[in-house]
């Protein structure tokens, strides 16, 4: 049984684990990679880096190493001017990065190294690197960049990393090789990224608003209808109830085209109205609450009626407060249904601002097919509210399911 269970829940575990990986996927976790090893020809190197302060540099062979190994040497031409290289990064999130590494050799009287960070809006900041890094011979350097000091630069979108030096003497220089990057692992940056950069904050907000209003609507309106069906005697009652049950069976695809046309005429496409109003009363809600109210003792409302209470007072003061457990089942089930629905919000929205989290996630996956950590972080976010609610209210959810299904 336990083995079965583990097999069954393994995909969920996989998702959460993948969402904290910096890059790659669970079977190929990339915690670091080489940015530049200078083994390419100079033409190609031009697409990866540029020089600063000095137009020329040399690519030299390292005689000590046995394999073919080229490194870069750059010297300064003007005294006390910042000289070095800028490495093109495209659009990199520095919050993901733990440190940079490189092999480095320094010649002459260079006493300080500088690290420059340039973001995609061309904002740049150059600061001296703290710590004792200067070595005369080849040595592996760990460069940890104090990110909090680079205020004013958008560290989530860095386009260039610059490694610079200055020296009073012309002809001093540095040699660089195997420039690489180490990622933080595990990291929560994927969550921050999808939340802030990929509009998931907005999607979650939209889904939240829709779900809350749907839940409230169902709690009050469906229960009102259920009250009438449970307590009132009138002609056609069984017909109405049968009709309500029958509508549970009708596939939503039948009604969605006319509803879409209606919403278009009302100019309600891309509004909360279109996404909330049609779901305010559901057959499931009426059915469930009718069952619940029927098993409340009639004597209570009769007593209240004798005391002069009208139906609305009976409903709001007696029936609703007494229906707590039934309302809990209904509320939770409406929330989950509403939060998880895809078809309806997909049809009723076409602007990015009004997408629900399910629509947003489906669209997001089409654009980012290989960025698994981000995709899994987004999936975790989209699934989390429902999972939390499930963990808290499992009993109500399961009993709602059994009531709603078996008894019908």
């Amino acid at each position: 049984m336990v083995v079965l269970l583990l097999v069954c829940l393994f995909p969920l575990l996989l998702t959460v684990l993948t969402s904290v990986i910096p890059e790659g996927d669970l079977f190929h976790i990339i915690t670091g990679k080489t940015l530049l090893d200078f083994e390419t020809n100079p033409m190609f190197l031009r697409t990866k880096m540029k020089t600063i302060g000095n137009k020329t540099y040399e690519l030299l062979k390292n005689e000590k190493s046995e394999s073919e190994n080229t490194y870069l040497e750059i010297k300064n031409e003007t005294p006390d001017e910042l000289t070095g290289i800028g490495i093109f990064l495209g659009d990199k999130n520095f919050q993901l990065i733990k440190s940079f590494t490189c092999d480095m050799k320094i010649s002459g009287g260079i006493t300080e190294l500088f690290i420059g960070i340039k973001d995609i809006d061309e904002q740049i900041k150059i600061l001296p690197l703290e710590g004792d890094l200067i070595k005369a011979d080849w040595g592996k350097q760990q460069i940890v960049i104090p990110l909090d000091r680079y205020e004013g630069v958008d560290l989530k979108h860095v386009s260039q990393l610059q490694i610079l030096f200055s020296s009073p003497e012309v002809g001093d220089g540095i040699c660089l090789d195997n420039i690489g990057v180490n990622y933080k692992f595990p990291t929560l940056m994927n969550f921050v990224n999808v939340w802030e950069e990929n509009d998931f904050a907005r999607y979650m907000f939209n889904s939240g608003v829709i779900s809350i209003f749907t839940v409230l609507g169902n709690l009050i309106l469906s229960t009102m209808v259920a009250y009438a069906l449970a307590r009132k005697q009138f002609r056609g009652k069984e017909f109405i109830f049968g009709l309500i049950l029958a509508t549970m069976m009708i596939p939503p695809q039948i009604t969605i085209i006319p509803i879409f046309m209606m919403m278009e005429k009302l100019n309600w496409i891309n509004t909360f109205y279109a996404l909330i109003i049609p779901t305010l009363v559901t057959p499931f809600g009426i059915f469930l609450m009718r069952q619940y109210i029927e098993q409340l003792p009639v004597e209570i409302d009769q007593a209240a009626y004798v005391d002069g209470a009208n139906d609305f007072q009976i409903f709001f003061r007696i029936i609703l407060p007494l229906s707590g457990p039934g309302l809990a089942v209904l509320g939770i089930n409406s929330f989950i249904t509403s939060w998880n629905s895809l078809y309806y919000p997909l049809v009723m929205t076409n602007s990015k601002d009004m997408r629900t989290v399910q629509v947003g996630l489906a669209m997001f996956s089409k654009l980012n097919q290989v960025e698994w950590p981000k995709l899994m972080a987004a999936s975790t976010l989209a699934g989390l509210p429902v999972i939390i609610i499930f963990l808290i209210f499992q009993k109500q959810i399961i009993s709602g399911l059994v009531d709603g299904a078996v008894k019908s």
Binding site: M1, L4, L5, C8, P11, L12, L14, T15, D25, H28, L221, M224, V225, Y227, K232, I240, L243, T247, M249, I250, P251, P252, Q253, I254, T255, I256, I257, P258, F260, M261, M262, I277, P278, V281, I286, N310, F312, F315, N340, L342, Y343, V347, Q358, L361, A362, S365, V370, W372, L375, S379, A382, V386, I387, F390, Q394, I397, L401, V402, A405, V406
Partner: protein, 291 residues
């Protein structure tokens, strides 16, 4: 008399949320889409042109619709026995009196059913990807795996989605079957045991016959649900590659909201309704005969 009128108003007030919303978003759309299904109507051109049964005829001459129909049938027939079978086995295992932590197991098996199909699809896109779980496991076990996603091949895409659907859905039915099993009185088992019946005989002579109504119900709602498969198709493949995962509802979505051929879309929706109704009726007949 006055009191009676007042009573009527009160009743009307209580029923009004349903009356209003049902007429606007239920009854009217059902009737209107029936009308639309006999017209040539596109969302872009508001003029409706009555074309008789043309849309219905078109559907059965439309190659893509026929593929979608076939795929949907394969999906329904290919998933339901597994979903029901697995749910039945786990339900019976859970019903073992000596098993501790039943509630925990029930909840845990049920968990995937509360998660949205989009999220589940995302997880499985990942597992089916060229570097994903299945290819990695396969290579570890020494199989030669193709270096591409399982969803990218016309041969494997539909079975892959069906396999996922079984995983995603069975927990829901475990709960229903378990509830059905719980309603079988314990005395029956005891009587059978006293008469010397073994576990196999108990299962075939007591459990299964008494569980039949539940099982038929499970199969019925599962059929209706499976005919409407959409979210996973939309998220995982968009109907591709080469329509190999195209299903009725996904095709209906494409026709109505991508191409805006709403008349044709409505006709497809009604064909779907017909199919579901016929199958539900057949199942009801069978159910009545058997029980």
């Amino acid at each position: 008399m006055k009191k009676k009128t007042k009573q009527r108003w009160v009743l009307f007030a209580f029923l009004s949320p349903w009356l209003i919303l049902f007429s606007i978003f239920g009854l009217y759309p059902i009737l209107f889409s029936f009308v639309v299904s006999f017209t040539k109507y596109s969302g872009l051109n508001p003029n409706m042109e009555f074309v008789g049964f043309e849309n219905y005829i078109k559907a059965f001459q439309d190659e893509v619709f026929l593929i979608a129909l076939k795929n949907t049938m394969i999906f329904v027939v290919g998933t339901i026995p597994f979903t029901t079978g697995i749910a039945l086995v786990i339900g019976i295992l859970l019903n073992n009196r000596r098993l501790k932590g039943k509630d925990f197991f029930k909840s845990a098996f049920f968990l995937p059913s509360v998660i949205s199909m989009v999220v589940i699809s995302m997880i499985w896109i990942y597992m089916y990807s060229s570097n994903g779980l299945f290819n990695t496991l396969g290579s570890l076990l020494g199989f030669k795996m193709e270096d591409r996603s399982w969803l990218a091949s016309t041969k494997t895409a539909l079975p892959a989605i069906m396999f996922m659907d079984v995983w995603a859905a069975f927990g829901y039915y475990v709960i229903l079957i378990f509830a059905g099993l719980q309603s079988i009185p314990e005395q029956l088992y005891e009587a059978a045991r006293i008469d010397g019946a073994g576990p196999f005989r108990i299962a075939t002579k007591i459990t299964l016959p008494l569980l039949k109504p539940t099982l038929f119900f499970v199969i019925a709602i599962n059929t209706i649900r499976s005919f409407q498969v959409f979210s996973e198709i939309y998220t995982m493949t968009g109907g591709g590659p080469r329509n190999s995962t195209q299903t009725i509802v996904h095709y209906l979505y494409e026709v109505s909201f991508r191409k805006f051929e709403m008349g044709y879309g409505s006709a497809i929706a009604y064909i779907l309704l017909m199919i579901i109704m016929v199958i539900t009726l057949i199942q009801k007949r069978v159910l009545r005969k058997e029980v």
